[in-house]
């Protein structure tokens, strides 16, 4: 993968209004993605890579770590608002993502305000599959860096 040398451009607070949206689609997920995330995070729960273990635990096959999807949603937010823009990020896990799934991350500004001397936004976000299953729901507070 080529590494870019120029940083991304981020949204400016002045240009964001309630209802402003951002999307990022990732996938299709592979078992290799789960294994790479296990190595990056140290989460070696066998349900995420060991087919026989996952089946014995009552699942059809291995599934993604919830924090992998949480990471994708975090990526969607920082690529939109800036790498150090987040002040709070709260993720609620609701469904499993399986190999072959697409992960559609959707974020929407719900409030623009000033606090602690910063221009901030509140954001509601979710990650859903191509079937429409909601994998995670999240809320975030950010100070856009554009």
């Amino acid at each position: 993968m080529a590494i870019q040398t120029a940083s991304l451009t981020y949204a400016k607070w002045e240009e964001l209004a309630e209802g402003a949206r951002h999307e990022l689609t990732v996938g299709p997920l592979t078992r290799t993605d789960f294994v790479r995330y296990a190595g990056a995070s140290g989460d070696f729960n066998p349900n995420h890579h060991d087919e026989i273990y996952a089946i014995r635990s009552g699942f059809d096959r291995p599934f993604a770590q919830g924090m992998l999807q949480g990471g994708y949603l975090g990526r969607a937010l920082t690529e939109w608002l800036g790498p150090a823009s987040l002040r709070k990020f709260r993720i609620r896990f609701s469904a499993q993502a399986w190999p072959g799934d697409m992960v559609l991350c959707k974020a929407r500004v719900t409030r623009c305000y000033e606090e602690s001397g910063e221009k901030r936004v509140e954001v509601e976000a979710e990650a859903v599959t191509q079937r429409g299953d909601v994998l995670i729901k999240a809320t975030a507070t950010a100070a856009p860096q554009g």
């Binding site: 590494i3 870019q4 993605d33 919830g66 790498p83 150090a84």
Partner: protein
């Protein structure tokens, strides 16, 4: 299983680790982050950071946690009924490579509620407080760990 009161009162010692460039790069590449501030120190410096910037979920790592410093293994949860229900982060300063983070885990809250089909559900929130070399707060991370209710036992 009811939570052990001794675990709720127990204090867990801090753990320390250096935030490494290579580990940030690996984490960013797994997630496909396009922004070079996570992978290229020159790009990070050009954007005003002292070194590459950690992605926002980076501190939820298992590498530095062990039964000596983390309450999770002591909760007595049945692994088959254990869920990571929520994860929350609060950010106080950018996390960049080269920083030495000190983390400390504590049980922030706990609750038991009746399950919809009988039995009890348990909710425990573990808060990790991350500070830098100066003792200043960098991040607070809170994970909500749920033990779902055991199915009602058959009679006999």
């Amino acid at each position: 299983m009811p939570l052990d009161p001794a675990v709720l009162k127990r204090e867990f010692p801090p753990f320390e680790f250096r935030v490494e460039r290579g580990k940030i790069r690996e984490y960013a590449l797994v997630l496909g982050l396009q922004d070079p501030v996570h992978t290229d120190p020159e790009a990070a410096r050009a954007s005003g950071y002292p070194d590459v910037v950690a992605p926002p979920t980076f501190t939820r790592q298992f590498w530095h946690e062990n039964p000596g410093n983390d309450p999770m293994p002591h909760l007595g949860y049945d692994p088959k009924r254990r869920l990571h229900g929520e994860q929350e982060f609060e950010y106080f300063k950018p996390l960049v490579a080269g920083m030495v983070l000190r983390g400390r885990n504590a049980i922030a809250s706990h609750e038991e509620k009746p399950g919809k089909r009988g039995g009890m559900m348990t909710f425990v929130v573990i808060e990790t407080r991350f500070t830098d070399e100066k003792g200043e707060l960098v991040q607070l991370a809170r994970r909500t760990l749920i033990e779902t209710a055991a199915p009602p036992k058959a009679e006999g």
